[in-house]
């Protein structure tokens, strides 16, 4: 029981991170209908930026943790959004309106490019940083097993909740959110009604990248190690989460992320840890077979 509770906490933490990345996928898919394959690598870039920022702070003898976290988050969000914007501008915008596969291929190319440029400029070795947040609260001191929620886990879950609230508000209440939803429904019509479609799409990419940046900082804080290959698996799982929740749906992405995180931790804890990725994909296949539009997605009706 205690063990299961611990897994629940771990799963929620993991799921919150997947959810943050998944939103980037689902928004981009919603608005231009493509898999932004480089999104996982954007997340990886942000983790590297976080490592650099933490190291600078350590060198500058900054000891206040809230200050450090805020600084790292701002720096990481700024640069990562720039990356998100640049990727869209160079690799996807020229291909808008061509075949469906062309942007996918250029996205895969972009993903390989980002991975290798990080490997070249930052080195291929794993980057460890000293733990930023240690310790936590003991929730339940059961005999033989202590259930603990770490400060970093709490940080991740709280940040995700705050971000999700802010984000939902932004999409439903602000002018940008309205434009974003308009573009999602019908880009041509939106442009006729005076919505700057290009700018909205750029901004969507930057938002997605900013959320990925938060996830990148959280991963750096949580695991303390980063390497240039983390983007691939995280990206695929986040995309799986987006599909599981129903692609194009924001609450769906978060729900999918949490489910994937939970499935992964429970599977690894009780069944075979080495097959945890198989479980993720297996469940994805099952969901898609039984409910092809995902959990919260609207079924796609194709009109002729």
């Amino acid at each position: 029981m205690a063990y299961a509770l611990q897994q629940l906490i771990n799963g929620l933490t993991l799921g919150a991170m997947y959810g943050l990345i998944a939103i980037g996928y689902t928004m981009v898919y919603g608005i231009i209908g493509m898999i932004n394959f480089a999104h996982g690598d954007i997340f990886m870039v942000s983790a590297f930026i976080a490592v650099t920022a933490f190291t600078i702070l350590a060198a500058a003898d900054v000891t206040s943790i809230p200050l450090a976290l805020t600084f790292v988050l701002i720096v990481s969000i700024f640069f990562t959004s720039a990356y998100g914007w640049a990727v869209e501008r160079t690799a996807y915008r020229p291909l808008r309106g061509s075949t469906r596969l062309a942007p996918l291929i250029s996205a895969i190319g972009m993903s390989i490019f980002l991975q290798n440029s990080v490997q070249l400029t930052q080195g291929a070795r794993v980057k460890p940083i000293p733990p930023v947040l240690e310790g936590g609260i003991v929730l339940w001191d059961a005999p033989g097993f202590t259930v603990q929620i770490g400060w970093s886990q709490m940080l991740i879950i709280v940040t995700t909740v705050i971000l999700m609230t802010a984000f939902t508000w932004m999409i439903t209440q602000t002018p940008f959110g309205r434009q974003q939803r308009a573009c999602e429904q019908d880009r041509t019509m939106a442009s006729l009604l005076g919505v700057n479609v290009d700018r909205t799409i750029s901004f969507t990419f930057m938002l997605g990248a900013a959320l990925a940046a938060v996830a990148g900082v959280m991963v750096t804080v949580y695991y303390g190690v980063v390497d240039f290959f983390i983007g691939f698996l995280a990206g695929i799982k986040a995309f799986t989460a987006a599909v599981l929740g129903g692609i194009g749906s924001l609450p769906g992405a978060m729900l999918g992320g949490l489910l994937i995180g939970l499935i992964e931790s429970f599977w690894a804890a009780y069944l075979w840890a080495e097959y945890k990725d198989v479980a993720t994909f297996g469940i994805l296949c099952l969901v898609l077979m039984l409910r092809p539009s995902g959990l919260l997605g609207r079924p796609e009706v194709e009109k002729v």
Partner: protein, 443 residues
């Protein structure tokens, strides 16, 4: 999508400079965290190292590169406009001419590929690289059936390649099967996997299909890594027997009661014999694949694939059995991938899950799409390009995958339809093409 296209006016030099300056500024922002700063290991802890000189050089390079690129694009556009004005040829004529050029090129390529090992009979590197190109050509042709013809986006094609390779490796090392016995069985095995994968995902379309196939590819790889008793785990399977030439081995000395290839033909032993044999073997396999797929395209099933690609609902309305069409595409594509896998295992003599990662699937898909979906010659061109880019990059080895990724993006942006776009609509609406159609009819 939005059909409004504004004619771009020619840029003045000041505009060019401003444009390049803007791009260089973006480059600077992007470069600061990755190029300008890096973390290095200083006595067990990370320390920051600044590389602002390198960053400045990179930004300058971006500035100059952007200026040059804009200039080159404008030049190319002007030339194209002039050419369009000068020539009276219509789009249809040009497409027809291009098709003829491609056909001629095809024959030239065939001749060159037959002559290559004769011309380079003592150059191990050239023959080896050419063999790699042919493996990718074959994989590209196999995937072309699924993606290019049937329009089903498969991101896990490497799984079938792996199934073929492991089938041969296990059959030969565990049961002593020869290459020629194992080839059809392994192909059938891969086809079975194709149907196994295809069946549950028949209802999915587009990107859902892509992600499930990707997941399937990963599942196969993870199983190969973790099921050590079956597949040897991460260490893979080694000492896989090489194919023989009608029972003649390519070894220096033959075992009791048999002959070597060199001994039988009275040649002096040379390790190149095997390489050249392998080269011709994959050439024959690839040509058979080509003949097979070209035939299939003219058969009802091939027509059905292309119809399915264009419009699934129309297919169903015409009473076509989309289940069978999809499954046959998956099965045949998988079988061809399996054959390529068998050859790969036989050529390397060693396989491990390392060879069947997602990047491999991405490369094969890139070959199909870069070549122009559905175009057989396009696959050859793209496979050659994508194998040779990293090979040329070997001199500055760490940059090769970087160049590869960049090339994928640039080629796509430059020619979104692929290098040899093949799909010509048969019915058009605008006036220009109507005249083309009447000309066609008058001829």
């Amino acid at each position: 999508m939005s059909a409004v296209v504004f004619a771009r006016h020619a840029m003045t030099p000041a505009e060019r400079l401003r444009d390049a300056g803007w791009v260089a500024f973006v480059g600077l922002i992007l470069g600061i965290p990755l190029v300008g700063l890096t973390t290095v290991d200083v006595g067990g802890r990370l320390g920051v190292e600044t590389r602002f000189g390198l960053l400045a050089a990179a930004v300058a390079a971006v500035f100059a590169g952007r200026l040059l690129l804009r200039w080159a694009i404008d030049q190319a556009r002007n030339r194209k406009q002039e050419r369009d004005r000068a020539s009276t040829a219509t789009a249809a004529d040009r497409a027809h001419g291009a098709q003829r050029v491609v056909n001629v090129l095809g024959w030239v390529a065939l001749g060159a590929s037959i002559a290559l090992p004769i011309l380079f009979s003592d150059n191990r590197y050239v023959v080896d690289t050419a063999t790699t190109v042919l493996i990718y050509v074959m994989l590209g042709w196999g995937l072309n059936v699924v993606v290019g013809l049937a329009g089903l986006l498969d991101l896990g094609y490497v799984a079938f390649y792996a199934v073929g390779a492991y089938s041969y490796a296990l059959l030969s090392t565990q049961f002593g099967w020869s290459f020629w016995e194992a080839l059809p069985v392994s192909g059938a095995m891969a086809a079975t996997f194709g149907i196994l994968l295809g069946y549950p995902i028949l209802r999915l379309r587009g990107d859902y299909l892509a992600i499930v196939t990707l997941g399937f590819g990963e599942i196969i790889r993870i199983i190969l890594v973790n099921w050590t008793e079956f597949s040897g785990g991460p260490n893979g399977i080694s000492s896989i027997p090489r194919p023989s030439f009608f029972g003649l081995d390519f070894t220096r000395s033959a075992p009791e009661g048999s002959q070597t290839f060199a001994g039988f033909f009275g040649l002096e032993f040379s390790p190149m014999h095997r390489l050249i044999f392998l080269y011709y073997l994959i050439l024959v396999l690839a040509l058979l694949t080509h003949a097979f797929v070209s035939r299939l395209r003219k058969l009802p099933v091939g027509r059905a694939w292309e119809a399915l690609r264009e419009d699934e609902i129309a297919c169903q309305a015409m009473g076509m059995n989309t289940t069978n069409i999809k499954l046959s595409a998956f099965a045949i594509g998988a079988m061809l991938g399996g054959f390529a896998g068998v050859f790969f295992a036989a050529r390397q003599g060693f396989i491990s899950p390392e060879s069947f990662v997602f990047t491999e699937s991405a490369i094969i898909l890139a070959i199909v799409v870069l070549g122009g979906m559905g175009s057989q010659m396009g696959v050859v061109l793209a496979a050659t390009l994508l194998v040779l880019i990293p090979e040329f990059g070997r001199n500055f080895a760490e940059y090769r995958m970087l160049l590869f990724g960049l090339a994928m993006v640039l080629i796509m942006v430059w020619r979104p339809g692929g290098l040899l776009a093949h799909r010509e609509p048969t019915v058009r609406l605008n006036a220009l093409d109507k005249t083309a159609a009447t000309q066609e009819a008058a001829r």
